[in-house]
Amino acid sequence: MKKLIYPVAALALLVASAFTAIKSQDWKISDGYSVKFDGGDPSGEFSGLKGTISFDPNDLASSKFSTSIDVASINTGNGMKNTHAKSDKWFDAEKYPTIKFTSSSITKTATGYAAAGALEMHGVQKPVTIPFTFENNVFKGSFEVNRMDYNVNTAEPNHGGAKFKVDITVPVTK
């Protein structure tokens, strides 16, 4: 029995060290992040970003993003537009309070990385790929969203922009 103590201890340490390695890939979202959208008029930002970020440039297979944004945190700079955006005519924040992105795979690209996954907005889930970079503990990504794909005010396709450029900057800490 005594003979087993050291092999078991070594195994336990090995398993524990593996968990340490997995933990080290997890990142916390820091203050100062920004999720901006620009469709000409309106443009603005969301401030309620939450989620888990697990990212290791050397182990993309086990990296994963699971994030959500509080729709009610939208700020266009104009109170009437904010109220309008949260109404059932647009995002319907009461019925669909969050916009979610969950990655299914992260790959290396020529300019950085690309996170492929599902973007859920206004009750509609669509596959998207978000190209991003990761430098100095800051994630930066940019992609385009067509609100018509997510049934956001389809009755008025020309009211404001249909396509929105989304710029995301997320500083993180371990």
Binding site: K36, G44, E45, T76, G77, N78, G79, M80, K81, N82
Partner: protein, 130 residues
């Protein structure tokens, strides 16, 4: 004539600026908002003086041109323009660094009326001195 109109405008400017500053203090305290990068002492005083002194020129011109009718027309025009300007605070898009733009019209809509209110408030002082 213009001298009296000028002092009328100055008195109205000072009164409107004081009203705006007091209301700003009360509103910011009550709602815990901060629009100081846009609405501050400088902008409140500047707005009050700009509107009241512009009104002075229009008033003096209309009275000189149309006499008593000019004063009546001026009163209607000043009130109508003030009321029409209510739309401006609702239409303004603030910088994204400013939180709670929903409360911005609550601060600025009453201020739009302060120059006209101040003008009519001090008007008897300058009429009675005729």
């Amino acid at each position: 004539m213009f001298k009296k109109a000028f002092f009328h405008g100055i008195a109205a400017s000072v009164l409107a600026a004081i009203a705006a500053i007091i209301y700003n203090h009360i509103y910011v305290f009550a709602t815990e908002t901060d629009y100081s990068s846009i609405i501050n002492y400088g902008s409140m005083i500047g707005f009050s003086f700009a509107v009241c002194l512009l009104a002075t020129f229009i008033y003096a011109g209309l009275v000189k041109w149309l006499g008593k009718k000019g004063e009546i027309i001026f009163s209607f025009v000043f009130s109508i323009i003030s009321f029409a300007c209510v739309i401006i605070p609702f239409a303004i898009t603030l910088p994204l660094t400013i939180k709670m733009p929903e409360f911005f019209p609550g601060l600025t809509v009453p201020m739009v009326f302060f120059p006209a209110m101040a003008w009519y408030t001090v008007r008897p002082l300058f009429t009675l001195s005729n």
